[in-house]
């Protein structure tokens, strides 16, 4: 590993900014004697993070499962819907408005309804995570399936390719980069969806995700613990996003492979 100074700076600079912000935060809390239920000092947050690490890890694991399953559902159902849309313009024009509706409906507003229908359980959390994260997959994959290079389409037409061949040998592989792109956006949304749903599922004792923990910390005015949970949420989002990115760049290596890649052999 030979990191250049530029790369090193790229890694260190954000930490430096974090240090400055944390210092100012701490000074402000001490200087103005802000009560810890309003704003705990960064040290108190770190302390809470450490003390609650097992609880947070466990809750993160629960939420991660829900978000991941939701994301997988989005990838599967979203791609399926996109394929259907690519094959029938009638289907596309008649259903696309409802897909947009799915995107614009405030998820916070339908989560309580979904809980009534589906119960205080994992399934509901997954359902909300799926609903909130499916749109980028449908939109991106549909456009990927439909925006095929004119020459490539002509190439297939010249060979009298069937509709199915066109779909499996051209459209679907050509849309893979768009699927990855969609999933990158969806990964963050799936985490948000899961946490929001957990707010509503609440402290029924059957379910303990990060969202559940946050509502109970809020009720008890445990601000430091609340912020610690918030940090866990962020970490979770980054984790899932990073995983999708990693998976995506592995898959996309073929699509975007550059000449330099040969040296790996």
């Amino acid at each position: 590993m030979n990191l250049t100074t530029g790369k090193l700076l790229g890694i260190l600079a954000p930490f430096f900014v974090f240090g400055i912000v944390a210092t100012i935060w701490h000074l402000v809390v001490v200087w103005f004697k802000i009560p810890s239920i309003i704003l705990p000092s960064p040290i108190a947050v770190l302390n809470a993070l450490w003390l609650e690490r097992m609880v947070l890890l466990k809750a993160s694991w629960v939420t991660l499962q829900a978000a991941t399953v939701g994301l997988i559902c989005s990838a599967l159902f979203g791609s399926f819907i996109a394929v259907a849309f690519s094959q029938s313009s009638l289907l596309r024009v008649s259903l696309y408005p409802y897909v947009i509706f799915l995107q614009t409906v405030p998820i916070v507003a339908i989560a309580p309804l979904l809980i009534i229908w589906s119960g205080n359980n994992f399934r509901t959390i997954v359902l909300v995570a799926t609903i909130i994260s499916i749109f980028p997959v449908i939109a991106n994959v549909t456009s990927g399936l439909l925006s095929i290079n004119e020459n490539l389409r002509e190439l297939f037409r010249m060979q009298s390719a069937t509709r199915l061949q066109m779909l499996t040998k051209l459209r679907i592989p050509a849309a893979i980069p768009q699927l990855v792109l969609g999933l990158r956006i969806s990964s963050g949304l799936a985490v948000i969806g899961a946490i929001i749903a957990e707010f509503f599922v609440g402290n029924s004792g059957q379910y303990d995700g990060l969202g559940t923990i946050m509502t109970s910390r809020q009720a008890n005015l445990k601000t430091a613990e609340l912020i610690a949970a918030l940090i866990a949420c962020t970490g979770l989002g980054i984790l899932l996003f990073g995983f999708v990115n990693l998976l995506g760049s592995t898959v996309l290596r073929r699509w975007t492979r550059v000449s330099g890649f040969e040296s790996d052999k």
Binding site: N151, E154, L155, Q159, S160, A174, R254, T256, F261
Partner: protein, 265 residues
């Protein structure tokens, strides 16, 4: 060589008419166009950008339906709904290599045979192997992906792909326009070698005069949607690279250039 090979037109366009656009913006792209190409001949369609060369090629390929006139290939009428058997006699080489980025060279080259379901036949495999050698691929390059290839190599793969189904007619739409002169003349020789071996009729669209002369038996000069002049190239086959630097070549070049500017004035 069969003596009758050059006598009957394998491609015949009569009174082909095509306009794009609607209302006042409607413009004739092909205008009462006549063209005949004899079997086994290489004919270049020479003309400035926008004269309708590429469109004509697509009409002959049955990718675009003309407004009026007839296109007959191998005594069968061409249309966008022509039978597979007729379509499969032709192959198209696009201006861009139009390779599928997720397939390696070999997989790209066998694509047309795969769409016809004959890619597993021993005969096809042998032929593709010969073709890849003919266009200049070493066996070690077969597994490379398009993004690992230079522009010239991509075009070689694209030509091999077009030839993989043993078409009797190869339609080429300015395939070497993006390449530098050195590479262009190398690929010209490669194309001539393929034509000689496969006895394939070629209709070659270009705006490069020297390339048109070097490659073909006849040059059809195109202007404003019609063939303004047809010139028989006086140089015998096989062509040699040295031909380009001879005085006769230069003199003939002048003649073609003059006809070209006359037709387009």
């Amino acid at each position: 060589m069969q003596p009758t090979l050059h006598d009957s037109p394998i491609i015949s366009c009569q009174g082909v008419q095509l306009a794009f656009g609607t209302g006042a913006a409607r413009q004739n792209v092909l205008n009462d166009l006549q063209l005949e190409v004899n079997a086994g001949q290489i004919v270049s369609l020479l003309g400035p950008s926008g004269c309708g060369k590429s469109t004509l090629l697509r009409v002959i390929a049955g990718l675009i339906e003309p407004d009026a006139g007839s296109v007959v290939v191998d005594s069968e009428s061409v249309s966008t709904k022509m039978p597979h058997s007729l379509r499969e006699k032709m192959s198209f080489v696009f201006q861009e290599p139009a390779l599928l980025p997720w397939r390696n060279v070999l997989q790209n080259v066998i694509l047309p045979t795969q769409l016809r379901g004959v890619h597993k036949q021993k005969e096809t495999a042998d032929f593709v192997e010969r073709l890849l050698g003919l266009v200049g691929f070493k066996k070690s390059d077969w597994r490379k992906f398009p993004s690992q290839l230079s522009g010239g190599m991509k075009m070689r793969a694209s030509i091999a792909r077009a030839m993989s189904t043993r078409p009797s007619i190869l339609l080429l739409d300015e395939p070497f326009a993006a390449l530098d002169d050195m590479l262009r003349s190398k690929l010209n020789d490669m194309l001539l070698a393929i034509a000689a071996e496969q006895k394939c009729t070629m209709l070659f669209v270009t705006h490069n005069i020297s390339e048109a002369i070097y490659l073909s038996q006849a040059i059809a000069i195109m202007s404003h949607g019609r063939i303004s002049e047809r010139m028989e190239v006086p140089f015998l086959f096989p062509r040699e690279a040295g031909l380009r630097s001879t005085g006769q070549f230069a003199a003939y070049y002048g003649q073609v250039a003059e006809s070209l500017s006359k037709g387009n004035s």
